[in-house]
């Protein structure tokens, strides 16, 4: 840990300066070249820093007008303990907030290392919004449950009600499969079967590995849970029945897509592409939104103190080019937002899907809602 990059120019002394620290994993395995080259939908296509910088550059006009600056430092950490130590150090050094693009356990450790707000842009785990939620933890990206609910809504709207679930071999897959099953149940869909799969060429394991054998039976749609993505990518058009694949391949629930055409989205995508030379992907959007949230907080409380900045951050209403104003849910710190359903070639649908209703805000049909009281820390 501990490489520090000074990214924003130091502005005139009169301006209030807010320091922000971005925590990222050292030697991030998600960003290995081969992994990015064959990245599944929703997997990172580049570092979170890119979109964060774009958002801060976009905010320059508003910041100048308010007389505030944001100064960003990136710190790489190697484990949960390192993340915790890095947040504590950032707080001592006068940071006003942190942005974390870390695995969920590290994200939790980071938020426990400080009282400062931690903006989570990388961890989708429901636990961080539920049992392991924290008062200072805010989530810009989609939770697993939001993605599951979005898909379940789309299946309900299409009356693809009989679902065959295929679940991957690791612990994360099992957790996410339980989440998918909960959404299937919540929307009144029918789970035909839940079958484990494994990547293997061993003939003795063909029941687990052969897509034709795995997809026998009667169903409307195959829902695949594969956090790694390699198996899921090979599944469409290899099913025993001519049925669509959803989940981690086929139709995928995403925070963003470079193919999104509405609400000024192409301009946002183009700005990131110009800055980085790559398309803006689902993993970039939360980082971009974290930058926008920090800009909005600095503009709302340009003279500080930190407490005013933190209050402004919790209360932000953001335009993220998804057609609606977005804000953090008071009950779990999750940014409520529309979810894109895409096959990677186009954005096929948006959730909440037409016709889904909610007593207060239809966006709150995606993810844990207030009456469930799943987060006790807030």
């Amino acid at each position: 840990m501990g490489i520090g990059l000074l990214l924003a120019a130091v502005m005139p002394a009169a301006a209030a300066n807010f320091k922000v620290t971005l925590l990222t994993p050292a030697d991030d395995p998600r960003l290995e070249r081969a992994r990015i080259e064959r990245a599944a939908l929703g997997h990172p296509a580049g570092p979170a820093l890119d979109a964060l910088k774009v958002a801060m550059a976009e905010g320059r006009f508003e910041l100048d007008a308010a007389g505030a600056t944001l100064q960003l430092t990136q710190v790489e950490v190697s484990d949960a303990a390192g993340a915790k130590a890095a947040t504590a150090k950032a707080e001592r050094d006068g940071a006003v907030a942190l942005v974390a693009d870390l695995p969920s356990a590290w994200t939790l450790a980071a938020s426990d290392g400080t009282k400062l707000p931690v903006l989570n842009v990388g961890a989708a785990a429901d636990a961080l919004r539920q049992g392991d939620c924290r008062r200072n933890l805010f989530h810009l990206g989609l939770s697993d449950r939001m993605r599951n609910d979005a898909l379940a809504q789309a299946l309900t709207a299409r009356r693809w009600s009989h679902v065959l679930l295929l679940t991957g071999p690791d612990e994360l897959d099992r957790e996410r499969s339980a989440g998918a099953q909960a959404s299937i149940k919540r929307y009144g869909l029918k789970l035909v079967a839940n079958r484990p799969f494994k990547l293997s060429a061993d003939p003795r394991e063909r029941e687990l590995a052969n897509t034709l054998l795995l997809t026998q039976g009667s169903y409307d749609v195959v829902w695949v849970v594969d956090s790694d993505g390699e198996f899921a990518l090979t599944l469409p058009y290899r099913t025993a029945l001519p049925r669509p694949v959803v989940g981690d391949a086929g139709l995928v629930a995403l925070a963003w897509s470079p193919r999104f055409e509405r609400f000024g989205a192409p301009q946002v995508t183009r700005r990131l592409s110009k800055a980085t030379g790559r398309p803006m992907d689902a993993h970039d959007w939360p980082a971009w939104m974290a930058g926008k949230a920090l800009v909005a907080a600095a503009v709302a409380a340009p003279k500080g103190p930190a407490a005013a900045f933190h209050k402004a951050l919790a209360d932000v209403e953001l335009d993220g080019s998804k057609g609606v104003s977005m804000s953090f849910r008071a009950w779990d710190g999750q940014l409520r937002q529309p979810v894109l359903l895409s096959d990677g070639r186009s954005v096929i649908d948006l959730a909440p899907v037409d016709g889904v209703m909610h007593p207060k805000n239809a966006l709150d049909t995606l993810g844990a809602d207030a009456p469930e009281k799943l987060c006790k820390a807030r």
């Binding site: 976009e58 905010g59 006009f61 508003e62 007008a65 000024g264 301009q267 183009r270 700005r271 110009k274 209403e317 335009d319 057609g323 609606v324 104003s325 805000n361």
Partner: protein, 329 residues
């Protein structure tokens, strides 16, 4: 962006000329032109029969349309071909195209028609383009994603809305420089100026509101919030706006709420709400100010609204993803 321009007399002279030439459509001269983003074309609608009679091919992804001050030509901003198309209304053919920066969407013309002021969404600038030569004369940096553009009657000031910075930028034409940023509601889009120029109304797409700017001291003098029974605030996304010539009434398209609001300008109160098509966007009043034309971006049609009774009369299919309507009578 149509009826309240002071070149009505020039337009009627043009009408006389066209009649004298006895062109085939002379008897049905009252026309609506509707740009269609996905068809790369402009639908031509006969206002009498209320039906589309033809289409004019233009550059790629046409969006904002505006008449030249002499009423003889229609200028088209094409976002994908980065061009302006100049359409001669007598022949309904493209006569000239010129570069219009990068990804042009909205623009306004100087009162003499010689200069186009074009927002550059990607670059975050306002460019001044010479209409005769097509040359870019100035490039003024403003906030990211600038959108609506409005020139004052005296031609000295240009207002530009910035969707990202939630501001209206005040640009001095003579000095080609940014004079002031005015903080307005979330995602400001389009403008209307009162006839005396004292108030600038700007629609805030993600704030269900219009910010009313006092143009004397360039500050927000008031905010008009829209409410609609059965719709949530988040579903009211105002964009298109126009005003009657006497400045007494404003007409605002409420986007996702699928309604147009009629507003009494003096009291800043909504008098009527008219159900139209899906996501109404651009609005235009006819010369008599008895009929309002509303472009529905997500239902590919145009709703014709009777102003007196505040009722939709007819909805006509136009092109795919229609954007702007301009009337020529």
């Amino acid at each position: 962006m149509t009826a309240q321009r002071p070149w009505a007399s020039a337009r009627s002279r043009l009408l006389g000329l066209v009649l004298a030439l006895a062109l085939p459509w002379a008897s049905a001269q009252s026309t609506a032109y509707v740009s269609s983003e996905k068809d790369h074309a402009i639908a031509v609608l006969d206002l009498k029969t209320r039906s589309v009679t033809s289409t004019i091919g233009t550059c790629k992804r046409p969006r904002h349309l505006q008449l030249t001050p002499d009423g003889k030509q229609l200028l088209v901003a094409c976002s994908e071909s980065n061009q302006a198309d100049v359409i001669d209304l007598a022949t309904r053919k493209s006569v000239r195209r010129f570069a219009l920066g990068d990804n042009p969407e909205a623009f306004d013309l100087s009162p003499d028609g010689k200069t186009l002021y074009v927002s550059q969404e990607d670059e975050g600038t306002l460019i001044f383009v010479d209409a005769a030569s097509g040359k870019t004369l100035q490039n003024v940096p403003i906030g990211k994603e600038p959108e609506g553009v409005k020139v004052t009657r005296d031609g000295r000031t240009v207002y530009v809305s910035s969707e990202v910075a939630n501001m209206v930028h005040v640009v001095d034409v003579a000095g080609a420089r940014l004079l002031k940023n005015i903080k307005v509601g979330k995602r400001p889009r389009r403008f209307a100026l009162t006839p005396d120029g004292s108030q600038l109304w700007v629609t805030n797409e993600l704030d269900a509101s219009v910010s009313i700017i006092d143009t004397k001291d360039q500050t927000v003098a008031g905010t008009l919030r829209f409410e609609l029974k059965g719709a949530r605030t988040s579903d009211i996304t105002p964009v298109g706006i126009t005003m009657s010539r006497d400045g007494k009434r404003a007409f605002v398209a409420l986007g996702r709420a699928n309604h147009v609001a009629f507003v009494d300008v003096a009291t800043r109160k909504v008098s009527d709400l008219v159900l139209v098509g899906k996501r109404p966007w651009s609005v235009a009043l006819d010369q008599a100010e008895t009929t309002l034309y509303v472009v529905n971006g997500l239902s590919d049609d145009l709703t014709i609204v009777d102003v007196a009774s505040a009722k939709a009369l007819k909805t006509v299919k136009v092109g795919r993803v229609p954007y702007t309507v301009v009337l020529v009578e």
